[in-house]
Symmetry: C2
Subunit: 260 residues, 2 copies
């Protein structure tokens, strides 16, 4: 098995059923082994509100008490994950929905409490890429929800970007891995107000310059940090592009390609 | 692979966290390949109520409109399933949580509307026992939520007893299968008011007699019909017992054993 495509889609695609269907249709057509990691979207916050569970975000991260953990387990691990699996099956992709707990694919540990108590949030310790490889060899397409587990029976809410890069890095022991982050823009923008100003290639030096200039904003920084780290740790290629351009990105190139 | 144990646990175990932990501890210790199917429990009804989704039951079956389907997908496929998987992982069982959509293990079709429109309820068409066998050979323990899918992208709410018997029957092409239904009594009772009146062996003739006498009640009839059908279709043994006696049932015998 040579090339593996690992794709992460975020909440903006999950929340828009037409966009999700377009993405899944393109994803279904991608050649070769592939793997999907999805984020949560606004549904978790909406359902939490209806259930009387308050949402608290710190620096874009969700504080996860037991009640919120139950909500994200339901929404990410149940509703979103299984709807994607059923839709992919209808597109002739033999998808299998997983959290990190399933087949012990992604083990994490509860984030230690320092300044902030994030609650049931997991930092990834170990990916069982051998197990994931085994699914791929069986022509299954893993679809991961951003939930992992610890060794003592807890599920843990986990950042989907981090989960995507951790899986991509570990899979790079077996494969040449292309990691694609799909988001709502056509790529990383040189001018945040100009959607056509996509940076075609981004190196660590350029990234540092854009950060210093304040061009690359808050939300993009953890995503890009993750992405550069993945490159350093063995992933062959990282692309950041719009969900609608995923086929183009794989086949011809689109969005921003990160280089070392 | 010779003997496979297929166990179904119902809502009464799911709803009682101490009972669930006792059951999972016993399940973890069972020798040989095994497979779990769980029901839903009252949590789905409670969460539906909080979300403003009305629960309508006809003859003990849940009418499943789109909103209720979303609730059961969240609760059965997400919350309950993943909590069981995480707990089993902590007990050193390499569990993998599945709906029928995952790896296309259990395909169904939306129940046709006759007198009653059950909504998104699935009647099982096909079990991919080869795929399930493949998980078992990898020393994975499948944990099924009672949700299946059709070929056009819909998830379908499915009776857990029926799902257990359909899986057990199909697995009997590969294995000698023992199917165990765990419930809140110690077995099928000759006197519903006397918990010690467990019928040790039940044949179709005896079953017909108990039904005619009204001893075997409404809720038990579909369960026993399923169970006898499973026996006729190749399952080696069917046991109906209390969740606390599952180890005893496997090792020495407990509860009611169905015979042809």
């Amino acid at each position: 098995m040579d090339n593996l495509t690992v794709i992460k889609i975020g909440g903006n695609v999950i929340d828009d059923s037409a966009a999700l269907q377009r993405f899944l249709t393109a994803f279904a057509k991608l050649a070769g082994p592939k793997l999907l990691i999805h984020g949560g979207g606004k549904i978790a916050t909406q359902i939490a509100a209806k259930l009387g569970v308050e949402t608290t975000m710190v620096d874009g991260r969700r504080i996860t008490d037991q009640a919120m953990l139950n909500v994200v387990t339901m929404v990410y691990g149940g509703l979103v994950n299984k709807q994607i699996v059923a839709k992919l099956q209808a597109l002739d992709v033999n998808a299998i929905g997983l959290t990190g707990a399933d087949a012990s694919t992604v083990l994490s540990e509860k984030r230690p409490v320092k300044d902030i108590n994030y609650g049931f949030v997991g930092d990834i310790k170990e990916v069982d890429s051998g197990q994931i490889q085994f699914f791929l060899r069986q022509e299954l397409t893993p679809v991961f929800a951003p939930i992992t587990y610890d060794e003592v029976g807890n599920l843990l809410n986990t950042n989907a970007d981090t989960m995507a890069s951790a899986i991509a890095v570990d899979m790079s022991h077996h494969n040449s891995v292309t990691l694609i982050y799909c988001f709502e823009k056509k790529g990383v923008l040189a001018d945040p107000n100009d959607d056509s100003s996509v940076i075609l290639e981004l190196t660590p030096t350029l990234y540092a310059e854009y950060k210093a200039a304040g061009t690359i904003n808050k939300g993009m920084i953890p995503k890009l940090d993750n992405a550069f780290q993945a490159l350093q740790q063995g992933v062959s290629k990282v692309i950041i592009c719009h969900a609608d351009e995923v086929a183009l990105a794989v086949e011809q190139g689109a969005g921003t390609t990160l280089k070392q």
